[in-house]
Subunit: 157 residues, 2 copies
């Protein structure tokens, strides 16, 4: 078990883009935020991840590597379509931002996440960072499967 | 991934009891029968198991060992109370029956399951076997959490 402390922002422009990212395909065996169960294929690797409910920016997380073939079969059991995105790792002042450029029904959405050691940890904000959406449920990956960005992008900040 | 072909029966009397069983405590991160996600503590071991929808007596099953401490934390995230039971392995004519004697809100319920290689495989029926309940959803462990035996035992076969 781990504890995940994460903040999430929208991204403006493409100045953050450094190198080829890794293609992700993920689905949900449960989208309930109290017990989210995610199947993720990340390039040639695959993971099963369970997350509990968030308290502030903190969330209990349990992640287990699983065989790629299992993940592909599990994606077929998932509730709703697969979320497709490319993940880029972008170093900024000694920390690493994970920038997700979504595809499919969520094309046009780009978000950046940073993992912190504590909720009040100070971090540099690169110029390509847009508004914070840590607590905006529309941007939860578990919600983007059922309610993709294409359906509500005109109302986005 | 595996395929699980299983038949389930009620149990009569106690002639099947051979030795000390293993205490199980299990809960569900999703009780939806199309994508059941189970956390199980079995003695000193723990597992995360995902099952798809049944076709006849056959069901896709994916099982992963996880650390005991993770399982105990995951049980707290589960939907509904833990199911408690003791599992006994009972050899009969070269095959092994798994007999589950439930406790807590399901006390009094004893079921026997046999895992088969094919749906039409022939197997010996020991004299302590009662009516078959393979397709009776009330006996699904995922349902016994929310609707325990104590609530409907008078209507049982």
């Amino acid at each position: 078990m781990g504890i995940e402390i994460e903040r999430k922002f929208l991204v403006q422009g493409t100045d953050w883009k450094n190198e080829a990212g890794v293609r992700y395909c993920q689905g949900y065996l449960n989208r309930d935020k109290a017990r989210t169960v995610r199947v993720r294929v990340a390039g040639e690797h695959a993971f099963l991840t369970i997350k509990g409910i968030s308290t502030g920016a903190t969330r209990a997380e349990f992640e287990y590597p699983i065989p790629l073939a299992d993940a592909q079969a599990l994606l077929a059991l998932c509730d709703g379509p697969c979320i497709e995105k490319t993940r880029y790792r972008v170093p900024v002042d000694g920390m690493v931002w994970e920038v997700d450029a979504f595809a499919g029904d969520n094309a046009g959405l780009v978000v950046a996440e940073i993992e912190l050691q504590s909720e009040d940890q100070v971090f540099s904000r690169p110029h390509w960072l847009g508004p914070e959406v840590t607590h905006d449920a529309r941007y939860f990956n578990s919600n983007l499967a059922a309610h993709p960005f294409s359906q509500w992008r005109d109302a986005a900040p």
